[in-house]
């Protein structure tokens, strides 16, 4: 029996459309974040290599790469679902999806899956390009994959919430500039939180992005600031809460159906 039948074709079609939507403008949605991440890599490794040593046997450039991959993956998963929703709300073409028999759950799954795909493609691209520059260990592949999927799912879900809530592009940009950016930059992309003063170490532990990045990095080096299981638990819990919130919004028709 084929996986695509009368019941599943609707959600599959929406997923496919959402993937094609960013794929058509891949220069902007994939190439551009990859270039940005490589610029960070170039500059930070040039300035800090040899001056900052986070783990004894890990060069700073190698330490930086998983952080940059995760940062770009998270930002792009968020950008995918949020910008698609805001754009189709502003343009009005969201109506084409709202008129269909798709359930709110199918709606959610299609947007989420497309966001995960975009996040993973961007993350994988940066990883592959980075391999040209440096040897990167890969101690626990399963953790790498787990946190990549959890992270893009979490931000994809957050993007759905932001996309439904925002009526205009600038509102969505506010999410990006005042929530996503500070949380990523203060999460240990560029440093280990052990290098911070104690008060900032404590504050960082309230940042869910810290757990995604630390768990992801653990997969590469086999060491991190905290146990990957703790990160896994925190990230999963946070994901579950956001999924519940976005499903609640979608089910009630908040800002989509009057």
């Amino acid at each position: 029996m084929s996986l695509i039948n009368e019941q599943t074709r609707g959600v599959y079609t929406l997923f496919k459309k959402e993937v094609l939507r960013f794929w058509r403008v891949a220069f902007q949605t994939i190439a551009s974040p990859v270039i940005t991440a490589l610029l960070y890599l170039l500059i930070f490794s040039h300035v800090l290599e040899g001056r900052v040593q986070v783990y004894d046997d890990v060069p700073y450039t190698a330490f930086l790469i998983p952080g940059l991959i995760m940062m770009s993956l998270l930002q792009n998963a968020f950008a995918n679902s949020s910008s698609s929703l805001v754009q189709s709300k502003v343009m009005g073409n969201i109506i084409f999806v709202l008129l269909t028999p798709l359930t709110y759950l199918q709606f959610f799954l299609a947007f989420l899956a497309a966001a995960i795909v975009r996040g993973l493609i961007v993350g994988l691209s940066i990883y592959l390009v980075a391999l040209f520059f440096i040897d990167l260990p890969l101690v626990h592949v399963a953790w790498v994959i787990t946190f990549a999927i959890l992270g893009s799912a979490l931000l994809g879900t957050f993007g759905i919430i932001a996309g439904i809530w925002s009526d205009r592009f600038d509102q969505m940009a506010a999410f990006q500039n005042f929530v996503i950016m500070p949380l990523t930059f203060l999460s240990g992309v560029f440093y280990s939180i052990h290098s911070l003063p104690p008060i900032w170490q404590t504050i960082s532990k309230f940042n869910p992005f810290f757990y995604m990045i630390d768990g992801f990095r653990y997969g590469f080096f086999g060491k991190g600031d905290i146990s990957p299981w703790v990160s896994f638990f925190v990230v999963s819990t946070f994901l579950a809460l956001l999924v519940l919130l976005s499903l609640k919004m979608l089910k009630s028709g908040y800002k989509l159906r009057g």
């Binding site: 695509i4 009368e6 609707g10 929406l14 094609l20 939507r21 073409n93 084409f96 008129l99 028999p101």
Partner: protein, 301 residues
């Protein structure tokens, strides 16, 4: 007895303190070409959005082909195709892609592609099938919108002011196509500002005003009931006898238009003119149109 295409029972919709729909009852049978008329703000679009599931009713029930639009919304939406009023489009895809996606959302796969091609051809979109939606002219976008509503081959089609800002040529092509669909058994519900359009196309008409239906009848009955004929007379004196004042509808210089509810009023008008020794320069008997019905129901100006 077949299920009605649309059955609306006491639908009410409240937006805060504004009552947009004040209890609408309406049944449209399968195969009808039905017109929904009314001034802006009468509640036509609200009613359509409730049928489409874009709005939830405050009270009452609505069903499409027997499927409740709230409790059985999936089956209801399968049966319904809506052409929205606004020229909305997805800027990332071309016409054929959009139509296939649209059919796909409804669970239609490859087998439906022939139908998609048929719509593209019937609406004169063949040349534009591979053109990005963004690059289409307004008229072409309008055609693509109609095509999108039809992509899943719904038995009931709602067109919300489809001819607003559409040129004559396209309007005719559109109506020929919609008429053909109606002949093939599709139920058509049309909202429009163009009364002559409704008069020409719709076999039955509902007129709405302030969230209520103020008239619901066959187009022919409405025409005969509310204003059978217009008598247009031009008088040399330019003065209409006082006794004819109650019938007066419009004055243009010395030309008076009298609204007659019955044909035998012509005799009355003529005898009054004779009594007043009014000399007639010109006289015409004009069939009333829906505009007269509309104005007399919805209240002038």
């Amino acid at each position: 007895m077949t299920v009605p295409a649309i059955k609306i029972e006491n639908i009410q919709k409240q937006f805060g303190s504004l009552q947009a729909l004040a209890g609408i009852d309406l049944t449209v049978q399968q195969g009808e070409f039905f017109g929904l008329l009314g001034p802006n703000g009468a509640g036509k679009s609200t009613l359509i959005n409730i049928l489409a599931g874009l709005l939830r009713p405050t009270a009452g029930n609505a069903a499409i082909m027997g499927h409740d639009v709230v409790t059985d919304y999936q089956a209801a939406r399968q049966a319904l195709g809506v052409v929205p009023q606004e020229l909305v489009f997805d800027p990332f895809f071309n016409v054929r892609e959009m139509l296939r996606f649209q059919a796909g959302y409804f669970g239609r796969g490859k087998a439906n592609d022939a139908w998609v091609d048929e719509i593209i051809e019937s609406l004169g979109l063949t040349d534009k099938a591979h053109t990005n939606m963004r690059k289409l002219s307004g008229g072409m976008k309008r055609r693509a919108l109609i095509a999108q509503a039809l992509a899943h081959k719904p038995p009931v089609i709602v067109l919300d002011e489809p001819t607003a800002g559409v040129d004559v040529e396209l309007r005719q092509l559109m109506w020929a196509f919609i008429r053909k669909l109606n002949k093939e058994g599709h139920t058509i519900i049309l909202t429009t500002h163009y009364l002559e359009e409704a008069e020409e196309l719709c076999s039955r008409v509902a007129m709405m005003k302030q969230g209520k239906i103020v008239a619901l009848d066959t187009t022919a009955n409405l025409l005969s009931k509310f204003a059978a004929k217009n008598l247009c007379i031009t008088l040399k004196s330019g003065v209409l006898p006082e006794s004819l004042r109650p019938l007066l509808k419009k004055v243009e210089g010395a030309t008076f238009t009298l609204a007659l509810t019955e044909l035998n009023q012509v005799e009355f008008a003529l005898s009054e003119l004779r009594k007043a020794h009014a000399e007639i320069d010109d006289m015409q008997l004009i069939e009333a149109d829906l505009e007269d019905v509309f104005l007399s129901l919805v209240g002038g100006a």
